[in-house]
């Protein structure tokens, strides 16, 4: 894999002294989907703005496809499509004209076939002659994506693409993202919906307070930080965890009807076999057992806490 976006020591301090980015290093590989997760104000949008030319970085370098975003901004920006977080569209213009405008603005010769393809992919073709102001919120967001895709970017930034979007449209968008990836487009999306990152990303980066806490393969991240809960439901309630089971760190729940055991899936020994044997040794009758993987959300909350501690 080769990196298509290289970010080195990127810093941004705003005029009011707010340090939005505190030295970000990140390589984004060609053709991948990278999700940047972080709470509001973490620096996600500033990071994207610095790469796309909307904000001037205070320090560090960014290159896109080998083009430095400051010195060779034409080369770099020609490769980038940006879908901003806010819905910002010329309200009185027709859909197809705003899309054509975007293509021209990026210096691409008119190509009606491409514009049609983009509009059809995003189910906007029927609305092509509608004025933007007549569209629903979800449709407007599609127009933003259509504008970004109109000039055939190699790298697409989606800044919280599904914020305030209904479930159906969200699924649609994920499908669109998957199609783009199949076409070889590198996609960077920011989100604070963890299930979104979990559903579509190849790698996940976690940003908080202007710092990149980690970037990892999604599966590896889930595994590395993945703890599992084993929930044991009992046939008869108990008042306390029996003395002989105390070293398992069991938590008694549901008025003595259930026990929860937390273990590390990556550990040398999970201790499950021994626990089950000890449970029956203690005379407990089991009614049911379940295991549950901790969600990315829990992993994320843990990381952000770690970072601020």
């Amino acid at each position: 894999m080769t990196a298509i976006v290289e970010i080195r020591g990127l810093r941004k301090t705003y005029d009011d002294g707010f340090e939005a980015l505190k030295g970000i290093d990140l390589s984004i590989e060609q053709g991948e989907i990278l999700a940047l997760l972080g709470p509001n104000g973490a620096g996600k949008t500033t990071l994207i703005s610095s790469i796309c030319g909307i904000t001037v970085p205070t320090g560090g370098t960014v290159s896109v496809g080998g083009h430095d975003v400051v010195r060779d901004y034409r080369g770099a920006r020609a490769m980038i499509g940006l879908v901003p977080q806010e819905i910002t569209l010329e309200p009185f213009e027709k859909v197809i004209r705003t899309v054509r405008f975007s293509r021209g603005l990026f210096g691409k010769a008119p190509d009606e076939a491409h514009v049609e393809k983009v509009l059809r992919t995003l189910s906007l073709w029927d609305k092509r002659n509608a004025r933007v102001i007549e569209l629903s919120g979800g449709m407007k967001r599609r127009v933003l994506i259509a504008k970004a895709l109109s000039h055939e970017p190699r790298v697409l930034f989606l800044d919280e693409p599904t914020a305030g979007v209904d479930v159906e449209l969200r699924k649609d968008m994920w499908a669109t993202v998957a199609d783009l990836k199949a076409a070889g487009v590198t996609i960077i999306l920011t989100t604070h919906y963890i299930e979104e990152a979990e559903a579509i990303a190849d790698r996940i980066g976690v940003i908080n307070d202007g710092q990149l806490l980690l970037v990892e393969e999604k599966a590896a991240l889930m595994q590395r930080l993945g703890r599992k809960d084993l929930r044991i439901e009992l046939q008869h309630p108990i008042d306390a965890v029996p003395e002989m089971l105390s070293h398992y760190g069991l938590v008694l729940e549901d008025g003595g009807m259930a026990l929860t055991y937390t273990y590390d899936t990556q550990g040398e020994r999970t201790g499950i076999t021994q626990l089950l044997s000890d449970l029956s040794g203690a005379g407990l009758v089991l009614r049911d057992i379940q295991t549950r993987q901790s969600s990315l959300e829990e992993i994320f909350v843990g990381l952000v806490k770690e970072g601020t501690a």
Partner: protein, 253 residues
């Protein structure tokens, strides 16, 4: 030079103009007719001629200049302010184009609209008074330069403005008074000597005078001075634009 991008901005801006073509067309026609009724018929009946030109014809260059200047400023300032206001400026900032190209697109479109309106007023005027243009090429040249330089000024105002009030402020409080006091409707020689001197500090005097010279071959100030004034004004605007470009003032954080 990214001509495709310049053309895209230009066309997009012009389409705003064509969407409201009727208003764009009718309002200058009506206001020009009103000026002719008020100034031409009411006052013109008392002022017969100004330096050998009928009063009705005399005010035509001033009328055109008034419209062209305010239209250039309004169009250009609104053209760049509106994307800032609604947020669509992000796209222009993230596009592979230079600031110069952005200016060319917006200013070019604003100047074109103003030029169109200037032509409409010229045509409407010709229905009211008999006009002969002695130096047609100079007339067109003056008009184009004025459109461009005031569109540049409008662009600067649009970048500077933080709200709609500020956007209106400069045209309303500075440009309109300067144009009215700049000899649009009278010859400076008709003023008392003291006011003649004060008037010479008004830059618009030189523009209107030069423009009137192109029509009738007569002027309040030498034509060379008029050219110098419009050239200097354009240069000043370009310097400010260059500075905005260098610093990213009020565009890029």
């Amino acid at each position: 030079m990214n001509w495709t991008a310049i053309l895209a901005i230009y066309k997009f801006e012009m389409s705003r103009f064509f969407r409201t073509l009727l208003q764009s067309f009718i309002s200058p026609v009506i206001s020009t007719s009103l000026y002719f009724v008020v100034f031409g018929a009411a006052i013109g009946s008392r002022i017969d001629q100004v330096e050998g030109v009928s009063y009705g014809a005399f005010i035509v260059p001033g009328l055109i200049m008034l419209a062209v200047m305010t239209q250039s400023i309004t169009n250009a300032s609104f053209g760049i302010y509106f994307p800032k206001f609604i947020g669509t400026i992000y796209e222009v900032l993230s596009a592979p184009i230079s600031f110069l190209e952005v200016v060319m697109g917006y200013v070019g479109a604003a100047a074109t609209k103003a030029l169109f309106i200037g032509a409409v007023i010229l045509f409407t005027s010709s229905l009211f008074v008999e006009l002969e243009i002695q130096h047609p090429i100079a007339m067109v040249g003056f008009m184009v330069l004025t459109c461009l330089s005031f569109a540049l000024l409008g662009f600067i105002i649009g970048i500077w403005a933080k709200n709609f009030e500020q956007l209106q402020l400069v045209p309303l409080l500075i440009v309109t008074p300067l144009v009215f006091l700049g000899g649009s409707f009278y010859s400076i020689s008709m003023l008392p000597p003291v006011w003649q001197t004060i008037t010479l500090f008004n830059p618009v005097v030189y523009l209107i005078s030069g423009f009137r010279w192109a029509f009738f071959g007569m002027a309040d100030v030498p034509i060379g001075l008029s050219l110098l004034a419009i050239g200097g004004f354009t240069a000043l605007c370009l310097v400010v634009i260059w500075w905005i470009f260098k610093t990213g003032w009020r565009i890029r954080s």
